[in-house]
């Protein structure tokens, strides 16, 4: 093996001596996959692939700001402020908190921020390299606590998309003095030696679990970011391969305080079996909060017969959203017609008259098998002896590419609905599913719209023609529709430099939504919910719809898990 040599092996972290005793009621136990997506011992956010923030590393590294999605506001963190300094969104000034310190006692300064940003600009293996390349002109430290960013072009969403951490996106700040000292900072795994600004230290990490202890001198308390955290120890227990039943039962047994998100039925049963456990919506369905990842049935709009809008509409008409709600979600209204999550600001957009008018015109949520059949017949299809659509002697291949771990319930149901409408549908949960989407070999795929959180732009931008590479080559970041329409692109280009609240933006976006529905670019199917169980036996003050607290989402594994964990309070149970 040529290039990879010289990388330090990933390794377990063993405590130096005996672990200090921390009673259960000061310990937070989380059921999650450890070393599922990473190599063990990798704490350096620059080691990719290999690093993930999801296994507790989010308690080590902090961003400039968090975003409180349910309040729609920024939460200053390492930065006290972060403002565009020009009206056309071409420059931005960041002011850091003076108390912010790394775990080795060194202060967090603008040098660290500049290093972090420049690293993204220079190193192509880092995740925001392209964003920085496209937008950022220069980054300069004006003084120890002030950084100025200059953009090549208007970047109204750069602050939100890149510099702020919410859900699983955003940029953590890394210590310049440690990274720069490494021979190759993208290859130094970090272990427990890397200085970090977050409140916890890793004391043990092996394939069973990862143990993190509160450090006494976290800057956030002094800076007023948070009261002294009550959780003295966080144990992330590996449940990666365990069946859902077992995880659920361990929650019921108060072994876990929280865990991965669950299917609707399971969490309902958990709540029934242990009254201490609550969900985001208390004990009521749908138990979860809205994730940023609504799922659609995507189509390759360039691949026959999906290039025929009548066929796409026929597929849309075959989907019975009420049945989906009934079968999969116990009647909770999860099915959707929008390609974005209905967070407060986006809900407002969806409720606007312009959008409503478009929806009434194109009826995107309609279920009508007869009309579907009519469209198919128009498109030249006939039903064969098996009752499946067929043209020129070839049966319509409607295999849905999907991911077993997240679409295990919905995809088979969708396939069956299509089947009942005469489409020869099947599900491919193979590990090649994603590749098939990227390559555009397949026509149908189940996938999310990981885009819009605040305004609909990013969601619509997924379908911009400039991303629609020809079939056979990679389609870019999850833009699988290969949809190309100049009218649509023109609208997007017009609203791109505008702020979200600009009425012109709202108007353009509504028009684009109309085209989205008219052309059935893809078929939105469900909103995505995070149904996370929270156990009040040892810890209270979990986030919920009635206790929005800091306003971030409630997943402890997301970037915003840190504010969730530091605000937990003990119940005093033994």
């Amino acid at each position: 093996q040529s290039g990879g040599a010289g990388l330090p092996a990933a390794q377990e972290i063993a405590p130096k001596g005996a672990l200090p005793v921390v009673p259960r009621n000061e310990t937070l136990v989380l059921g999650w996959g450890v070393a599922g997506g990473t190599s063990m011992g990798t704490t350096n956010p620059w080691v990719l692939p290999g690093y993930t923030h999801q296994e507790g590393n989010n308690l080590l590294f902090e961003p400039l700001m968090y975003f409180a999605i349910f309040k729609g506001e920024y939460i200053p963190w390492l930065a006290d402020s972060m403002e565009y300094t020009s009206p056309d969104f071409t420059s931005l000034e960041i002011k850091l908190n003076k108390d912010a310190k790394w775990s080795d006692g060194k202060p967090v300064t603008s040098k660290d921020v500049v290093y972090t940003f420049e690293g993204q600009m220079q190193r192509e293996t880092l995740p925001y390299h392209a964003h920085f390349q496209q937008f950022v002109e220069s980054v300069t430290a004006k003084d120890d606590l002030t950084v100025e960013v200059k953009f090549k072009q208007p970047a109204p969403r750069f602050k939100f998309e890149v510099l702020t951490e919410k859900f699983d996106t955003g940029l953590p700040i890394v210590p310049e003095h440690w990274e720069a000292a490494q021979a190759d900072p993208t290859k130094a795994v970090g272990l427990d030696q890397m200085p970090h600004s977050g409140p916890y230290d890793i004391v043990a990490w092996n394939a069973n679990q990862k143990i993190m202890d509160l450090r006494p001198d976290w800057w956030g308390v002094k800076a007023g970011r948070s009261p002294e955290p009550a959780v003295k120890r966080v144990v992330v227990v590996n449940v990666l391969n365990q069946p859902m039943d077992t995880v659920a039962q361990r929650l019921v047994n108060n072994e876990f305080d929280s865990s991965v998100d669950m299917r609707a039925q399971i969490i309902g049963n958990i709540l029934e079996q242990n009254k201490d456990i609550q969900s985001w919506t208390g004990t009521e369905s749908p138990y979860g909060y809205l994730d940023w990842w609504p799922n659609s049935l995507w189509m390759n709009d360039q691949l026959p017969p999906y290039n025929d809008v009548r066929v796409r509409k026929a597929i849309s008409l075959a989907i019975d959203r009420d049945k989906i709600d009934e079968v999969l979600y116990d009647g909770a209204k999860i099915a959707t017609i929008y390609p974005f999550p209905l967070y407060p600001n986006l809900q407002k957009f969806a409720d606007s008259d312009a959008v409503k008018a478009e929806a009434a015109k194109y009826e995107p949520g309609k279920f009508d098998l007869e009309e579907s059949a009519k469209l198919m017949t128009e498109a030249g299809f006939t039903k064969n002896s098996d009752g499946l659509w067929e043209k020129d002697g070839k049966t319509f291949d409607a295999t849905i590419q999907a991911f077993e771990n997240i679409h295990g319930d919905i995809a088979p149901v969708l396939a069956e609905m299509l089947r009942q409408a005469g489409f020869d549908a099947n599900v491919n949960f193979g590990t090649d599913a994603y590749q098939n989407m990227v390559d555009g070999k397949a026509g149908l795929y189940m996938f999310g719209h990981g885009a819009s959180l605040y305004d609909p732009f990013e969601a619509l931008n997924l379908f911009h023609g400039k991303y629609s590479n020809s079939i056979g080559s990679a389609a870019g970041n999850n833009r699988f529709s290969r949809y190309k329409n100049e009218e649509f692109d023109k609208i997007l280009d017009e609203i791109s430099p505008l702020g979200s609240d600009d009425p012109k933006f709202q108007e353009g976006a509504a028009k684009a939504m109309g085209i989205y529905w008219r052309d059935v670019i893809d078929v939105p199917v469900i909103q995505w919910l995070h149904r996370i169980p929270y156990n009040n036996h040892y810890w209270k003050n979990w986030p919920s719809s009635t206790n929005v607290a800091s306003g971030t989402n409630g997943a402890f594994w997301a970037h915003t898990g840190l504010p969730v964990i530091v605000s937990l309070q003990p119940t005093g149970a033994q």
């Binding site: 093996q1 040529s2 290039g3 990879g4 330090p8 092996a9 990933a10 390794q11 063993a14 405590p15 005996a18 921390v22 136990v29 599922g36 997506g37 990473t38 190599s39 063990m40 692939p49 290999g50 192509e124 293996t125 925001y128 390299h129 392209a130 964003h131 699983d168 996106t169 795994v189 043990a204 092996n206 394939a207 069973n208 679990q209 143990i211 120890r233 227990v237 590996n238 449940v239 990666l240 391969n241 365990q242 069946p243 039943d245 077992t246 039962q249 047994n253 072994e255 991911f403 590990t431 090649d432 994603y434 590749q435 990227v438 990981g450 991303y467 990679a474 870019g476 970041n477 999850n478």
Partner: protein
């Protein structure tokens, strides 16, 4: 045993390993799938990866993994690496190497599999021997029958059932993990017992799952042996039943089973893939299961190859041990 024989066995061992590595090398290359691309695609899926760079990164990694070279060169390199037990990097846990992953998980698996394999070997053979032993009391022979039926219960199903009844319903034993939450491995009795408590259910699943096979094959052997003249003559000699059973009957019937022992290891590991996962044990089976689920090809191939080598080595060891047990082989 002659020196020549030793050499012959070792050459054979090398051939087995070569064949296994060649199969493992070429099979995935027969299909058009590209593990690296798939892996990065998945990374991109979780968001945060810059789209335009995907191809560049993939090309970069292809080079790093040597995938851009001609197939034969790759094959040659690959064989060279195998010799050094270097199975390359894990895709999913890059930059961990597959050898690292194996080294991390092996102790768990060895602990569990070795104990269960030996136990089921002993129990199974004993029961099998008894069930074919006409002088054993009827109730004792009947005791073996349910175990024969157990042959039909794959360890997976056994694991699921045990977990459900003993873990969920009766709450007698922990539901998973190698040891209790928040505990760090230490060399103490407390830790040891904690560890054991967690291993009971997976061990039972594996034992129950494989004991039947041993019962069955030993029974077949036993029936053959108990008709042998020397067993009859031993009885004519007025030996006690226990001695006949041990020295004349079991000892001879065991011989072919010993070879089976090495082979069984391969099967048991396969069972462990699911059983370990079911009980959240961080062994090699879990590692393989994860690798299968996450399409971590280098890890899959590395582990499969490693297990094959282990089985082949064990078989070679058995070939060397057999002459100690069977003088007929020793002298020929």
């Amino acid at each position: 045993m002659t020196f020549k024989l030793v050499i012959r066995r070792l050459v054979f061992l090398v051939l087995v390993i070569w064949a296994a590595s060649t199969i493992v090398f070429f099979i995935p290359r027969l299909s058009s799938r590209n593990a690296l691309r798939e892996r990065f695609g998945e990374l991109a899926r979780t968001g945060g990866f810059s789209p335009e760079d995907l191809e560049k990164i993939i090309a970069n990694m292809n080079q790093q993994f040597g995938l851009d070279q001609p197939l034969l060169t790759q094959y040659w390199h690959y064989l060279g690496n195998i010799v050094r037990l270097d199975f390359g990097y894990s895709l999913y846990r890059y930059p961990s190497t597959v050898s690292d992953l194996i080294a991390q998980s092996l102790p768990w698996t060895i602990g569990l599999l070795l104990v269960t394999t030996i136990l089921s070997f002993v129990i199974g053979n004993l029961l099998g021997a008894i069930s074919a032993w006409p002088r054993a009391p009827g109730w004792l022979r009947g005791f073996a029958t349910p175990f024969i039926l157990l042959t039909g219960v794959p360890p997976v199903i056994m694991g699921i059932l045990l977990l459900f009844f003993i873990g969920f319903r009766l709450k007698w034993l922990p539901l998973g993990g190698a040891y209790s939450v928040g505990v760090v491995p230490t060399w103490t009795w407390v830790f040891f017992f904690d560890l054991m408590r967690h291993q009971i259910l997976p061990a039972l699943a594996l034992i129950f799952g494989s004991v039947g096979g041993w019962v069955l094959s030993m029974r077949g052997m036993g029936i053959t042996i108990q008709g042998e003249d020397y067993v009859n003559f031993a009885e004519h000699k007025g030996l006690t039943a226990g001695r006949i059973f041990r020295d004349y009957y079991v000892r001879n019937a065991m011989l072919p089973q010993v070879t089976g022992f090495a082979l069984a290891l391969g099967t048991v590991v396969t069972s462990a893939i699911i059983v370990e996962g079911l009980f959240g044990l961080p062994g090699i089976g879990t590692m393989l299961n994860l690798a299968i689920r996450s399409n971590d090809f280098p890890t899959i191939y590395g582990i499969v190859l490693f297990i094959t080598i282990a089985v082949a080595v064990l078989m070679t060891v058995v070939e060397f041990i057999l002459p100690l047990l069977d003088p007929r082989i020793r002298h020929s």
